[in-house]
Amino acid sequence: MIGDAFVFDCVAHVFNFEKSNALGSPGAMFSNHLYAFHAALTPSGETVLPPESFLRKWRPEEIDEMVFGQSDTDMLVAMPLPLTDLYQDGLSAWERCSELASLRPERTVLWGSVNPLEGKSALDLMERQVREFGAKAFKFYNVRYDYGEPFPWRMDDPKVAFPVFEKARELGVKLIGVHKGVPLGPQPIEHTQTWDMDGAAAAFPDINFVIYHVGLPFIDEVCWQLIRYPNLYASLAATINFIVRAPRQFAETLGKLLFWCGEDKIIYGSEAPIFHPQWALKAFWEFEIPKDLQEGYGYPALTEQAKRKILGENLLRLHGIDLGQAKASVDAS
């Protein structure tokens, strides 16, 4: 808990940055991008790891300690990366995320992840991740770089995307995240845009979709989509990390989201271990939308109620977890 807010972090990865894991220069470029984000956005006074300490194979126990031992986080999503176009094991292998979840099963939730372009084997893997490993949701990445060239797919593609959504529904999973915005490496920017979310949200109104990174820099488009579809949400993962280095930029993003979409549709995420969770959590709990932005641009204030929803209550609701039960479970552990 931070203050009286329950913190449910929607993303931490168990990275494998070993050089032998990266597939050629695109994989190496991706790793270097992530290290640059760590180095550029970690504030003064906090630990910036040297490249050799960051670009390595992280252990699930280290992520668990960083999130639960060193921050005010109560619950966590262990998030795989299926980037088999850039890394041998996808970069954050789902099996290792499952190990992370198993360290504190009452506090860490496993999400599954597959590459829908793999057809039936992707559907079979979804089934295994849910039935054998307890995955509660899925996350997808539709900007890919297979066979040495851009190989994107769309979230509104009836042949590629809809079968995995239908499989999720069949498995009782009604929560799906997708990486949007923030292009990393040689990926086509147009497919990091969010236009395909309309078709996914309209065709599967019973599934809640979380647009990660609030689709930055395409924030206006995301706002208009969240207004129009009750089953679209936005995650602040990687965006909240501008809060110390660029607080007014962060205030602009959050102000737009609060005004257009409301506090019920925004979700916190740390992106540990790219960013240590605690500094952003502390800054967010103390954060206010500057008065001049409220008066000049009409952004609403960031209330404590909004902070509680964003930090944990919204994601609990999407998982169907009661706040009181979650607190009791954390206390008991």
Partner: protein, 98 residues
């Protein structure tokens, strides 16, 4: 020596690395400049105020909240434009179901 400060349109500007490199490269190609330092300014957000009125009108997707006296009316007034798009998604879905 030249020193340039860049304000990105977004913290996650997808072209940041390229712009930083190209500005430095172009400046250092000038005969009067031996070295150029280019850095990103983080503590100042880019806003549409920096655009001409014409560019603002072309590029703006949503107005500043201060220009929206009644949010609900604004949304209701603009939702109609998207209904055709929603209908086309529904048709795609039905085609898929068949």
């Amino acid at each position: 020596m030249a020193s340039v400060e860049l304000i990105l349109t977004s913290g996650w500007c997808p072209f940041a690395a390229r712009v930083l490199g190209e500005v430095k490269e172009k400046l250092e190609a000038l005969p009067e400049i031996s070295q150029a330092h280019v850095r990103v300014v983080w503590d100042q957000p880019w806003t549409m105020d920096r655009l001409s009125e014409d560019a603002r009108n072309k590029l703006r997707f949503l107005p500043d909240p201060a220009q929206v006296p009644d949010r609900q009316s604004y949304i209701a007034g603009h939702l109609g434009k998207d209904r055709a798009s929603d209908r086309s998604h529904a048709v795609r879905r039905r085609q898929h179901d068949r």
